[in-house]
């Protein structure tokens, strides 16, 4: 029966010490991958007859403004539907140069999720067939979920008194 230890062992066998930050919060195997390896890892997890991670549950980003040089984390959630096991891994990239290889060739479902991640965090998915905004208005010229942008709409002028803290 497949379990976290076997998965970890197989991944270390294949990728040796390139995978780091191993953790198991709430029994879910979590680790970090260098940005250059994300597709190789996805392909290995997909193709390996024992691992069978053939379902991409979720893909999104997190902004850590204090991690200089690795501000943006792209997080992948995978599901093995046969053994009902889930894993998660993160890819950290520099916010100045947020290039990550697109997983659309392997998972069709990555298409919209990568567009959404681009829309809100500005992650540039290399190889994505149509990397344009999906939820926000097309005219928007910034990535609203990055921490330097306040939640409130900055374009309005009628809420600038002390009641609204502007």
């Amino acid at each position: 029966m497949l379990n976290n230890d076997i998965i970890k062992q197989k991944l270390i066998e294949k990728f040796s010490d390139q995978l780091t930050d191993w953790d198991e919060p709430y029994d879910m195997l979590t680790f970090t991958v260098p940005a250059s390896l994300n597709l190789k890892l996805l392909q290995f997890l997909y193709d390996d007859t024992e691992l069978n991670f053939q379902f991409l549950t979720d893909l999104q980003a997190v902004h850590y403004p204090d991690k200089k040089g690795a501000e943006l984390a792209v997080v992948y959630h995978l599901h093995n539907l046969v053994d009902n096991l889930r894993i998660r891994f993160k890819v950290f990239v520099d916010i100045e140069n947020p290039n990550v290889f697109s997983a659309t060739a392997l998972y069709r479902s990555a298409n919209h999720m990568e567009r959404e991640t681009y829309d809100f965090y500005g992650v540039n998915f290399i190889g994505h067939p149509n990397l344009i905004r999906i939820l926000n208005v097309e005219e928007m010229d910034y990535f609203p979920m990055r921490k330097e942008f306040p939640l409130e709409d900055q374009s309005r002028i009628d809420k600038d008194d002390e009641m609204f803290g502007r």
Binding site: L135, N136, V137, M140, P144, F149, L151, E152, D153, Q154, S155, R156, D158, K159, F164
Partner: protein
Amino acid sequence: MSNRPVQFNNHIKFEGIPEGYMGEGFMATNLEKVVSLARKNSIWPLPYATSCCGIEFMATAASHYDLARFGAERMSFSPRQCDLIMVMGTIAKKMGPILRQVYLQMAEPRWVMAVGACASSGGIFDTYSVLQGIDQVIPVDVYVPGCPPRPEAILDGFMKIQDLVNAEGLRRRHSDQYKELLSGYGIQ
């Protein structure tokens, strides 16, 4: 044998006859008054409901509060035949152009009612994705406050619209002032 008395409504309210000169078999009055009288008692609303205020509107239109009493029996879901667009709920920035297009498809004279805090000002959704009041894209005649407003408030707003319709001059929509208002929104 039932001895329950038969009851029927004998408190029917009539609109007053407009001022004018009357004689046997004829009446002369102001055309504007007659048109206003007809218009204000047969407003066809277009419910543009996007969230919880829309639920309050459903109560307003149903039998208990009965918007039909005001001559607004006929909800229209085509903007072309509507007199009043009732915008009820949060309007996201992405929906702004759609709301504007619906407004443009309505024939003059047309009125706009912003129901609830979100349609009036963005409400609690002071955020990058929400339009901060529909008056950023179309001119609004009546604002109904509340989050959401009670049906009585929506009815009160509707009666304010009726007052506006009643006071509407026949030539107002041709005036330079009105054209200036519309061009302020980039219309025409």
